[in-house]
Amino acid sequence: MNNSYEHKPKLVPYPSNAFVPERDIGKRPVLEVNHLGIDFGGLTAVDDFSIIVGRTEIAGLIGPNGAGKTTVFNLLTNVYHPTRGSILVDGMSTAGKSTHQVNHMGIARTFQNIRLFSNLSVLDNVKVGLHNSMKENFFAAVTHSFGYGKAEKKADAQALEFLDFFHMADLANAPAGSLPYGAQRRLEIARALATSPKIILLDEPAAGMNPSETAELMENIRRIRDNFGIAVMLIEHDMKLVMNICEGICVLDHGKVIAKGTPDEIKSNPKVVEAYLGKAKEA
């Protein structure tokens, strides 16, 4: 395994007030979000959200319940269309794009409440992720010829590789809905990775996991970055996990960014302690 990245690098300014890991300097950030906001009716759910995520950064998005974290993910994937602000994925604007087009541009995601294709097999779930990289056209599909067999075989092999990455190749033929909870979470990540994203958004990946499963997840997240060379952005309530693997952290409260920085900076930021960690310490 290529472990060339130090786990807690210095964040350096890019271009002025935002920070990315030192190794990502000089490369176009994978995600540039400027002054993003959305109103539902009269209610402002997210306001003035800006973030820069480096090409191989593991970024964390934290905040108390109802702070608007998942809404940010929904905005980034155009499940909700933002009222204000702009999103650039690898320099391209996602304005006016639909969710599947945003995925083609390089954003993949998982969901807080797991969303698998539960009647399809584990392998087919990953193969749905490979959908756009497969070239077989409708005619080839209907006739099962003209490269259909070859394309399917290649997809099978690729999908198995993704499953193997999470040590679940032996489950390939099981229906996805029958998997135990932890395996369902891993499959959701495998499916997202199969769309060959530039950044993967994980919505509470450790929710409902025990300490050993969380430790495995942490390792997996690092491996995702190292192996595929992509950025990861995660929403998580497990502070141990966040402080351990995230390089840059953004804290959200009541739809507004209240702090940004390295784990150490965040830990000692009085605003964060007040809004979030302070409560956790009391408990």
Binding site: T70, N74, V79, F111
Partner: protein, 292 residues
């Protein structure tokens, strides 16, 4: 101008019948979350039971009407108990197909007993019509409009003010929570079917009185129209069913009078599609958004 008002009156009258049937669809949908496809056929059964009590048993119309209402309410509860209750946890599609089976069953039973030929509906409402500046309103229409208005007000009060009505609303909002509050879901569903079917019986009397002939398949077209009306108004919503039913009747009569008699159904359905495209959950339906 007189044609305009004449059409409005006949539209309101037809719309009242649709609204009464649509109420049954919408109440059952709101509470049991199922499309009761057999509801239209309950109307047909209600009309036949009036024919039997008046023609064969020679009973007075008032008794016939009460008997028909009671019989339909019982029928509704029985259907629910035998066919739908065992499917509470089944997929909506399984319930839908069962309801279709019940619909076929009722039609074929009626066909066995009464034959395929249409039967004349007895003249049980005999009221002189009135004339207001050139617009003629006959007795049946008057009764239809008056009774429907009374029923709607009574139903609204019942749903909002009584204990049973509140239980119905609670079950339709959240079945589990209602159970936890000590409300019996099964009993509430039974009551809903009884009320819905009783309303269908009332509709059947007006339908029979207006169209004067009944056959085993009589229920299906008004049934479908009323179902459309319920969706039009926002299925699950009681005021929606009333509004949807009346609007559907009025639109149908106006397109018959002013555009084309044979195309009126197409126009009604086209209006429905347009409304749903603009408001995907119907006129008064609640907006449901899936949480991501």
């Amino acid at each position: 101008m007189s044609l305009f008002f004449q059409t409005l009156i006949s539209g309101l009258s037809l719309g009242s019948i649709y609204a009464l049937i649509a109420l049954g669809y919408t109440m059952v949908y709101g509470i049991a979350k199922m499309l009761n496809f057999a509801h239209g056929d309950v109307i047909m059964i209600g009309a036949y039971s009036v024919i039997v009590t008046v023609m064969s048993l020679n009973l007075p119309p008032v008794i016939a009407i009460l008997a028909s209402i009671l019989f339909c309410a019982l029928l509704g509860v029985t259907i629910e108990f035998l066919a739908y209750k065992p499917l509470r946890k089944a997929s909506p599609l399984a319930v839908l197909i069962t309801a279709i089976g019940v619909s076929y069953f009722l039609q074929n039973i009626a066909q066995l007993i009464f034959g395929t030929q249409q039967k004349a509906f007895p003249k049980i409402i005999d009221l002189p019509g009135i004339r207001i500046s050139g617009v003629e309103i006959n007795g049946i229409t008057l009764i239809t409009l008056a009774v429907t208005a009374i029923i709607m007000i009574a139903l609204t009060l019942f749903i909002n003010k009584t204990k049973v009505g509140k239980a119905m609303r609670a079950v339709s909002e959240d079945k589990e929570a209602a159970e936890l509050m000590g409300i019996s879901t099964n009993r509430t569903i039974s009551v809903t079917f009884a009320i819905g079917s009783a309303l269908a019986a009332v509709a059947s009397i007006f339908y029979g009185a207006t169209y004067t002939y009944i056959k085993p398949t009589t229920g299906s077209m008004p049934g479908i129209k009323a179902f459309t009306a319920a969706v039009f108004g926002g299925i699950g919503s009681i005021p929606g069913a009333m509004l949807g039913g009346i609007m559907l009747g009025v639109i149908e009569q106006y397109s018959k009078a002013y555009i084309s008699t044979t195309m009126s159904d197409a126009i009604v359905f086209a209006v429905l599609i347009i409304v749903l495209l603009v408001k995907p959950t119907g006129l008064l339906g609640k907006k449901i958004s899936e949480k991501v």
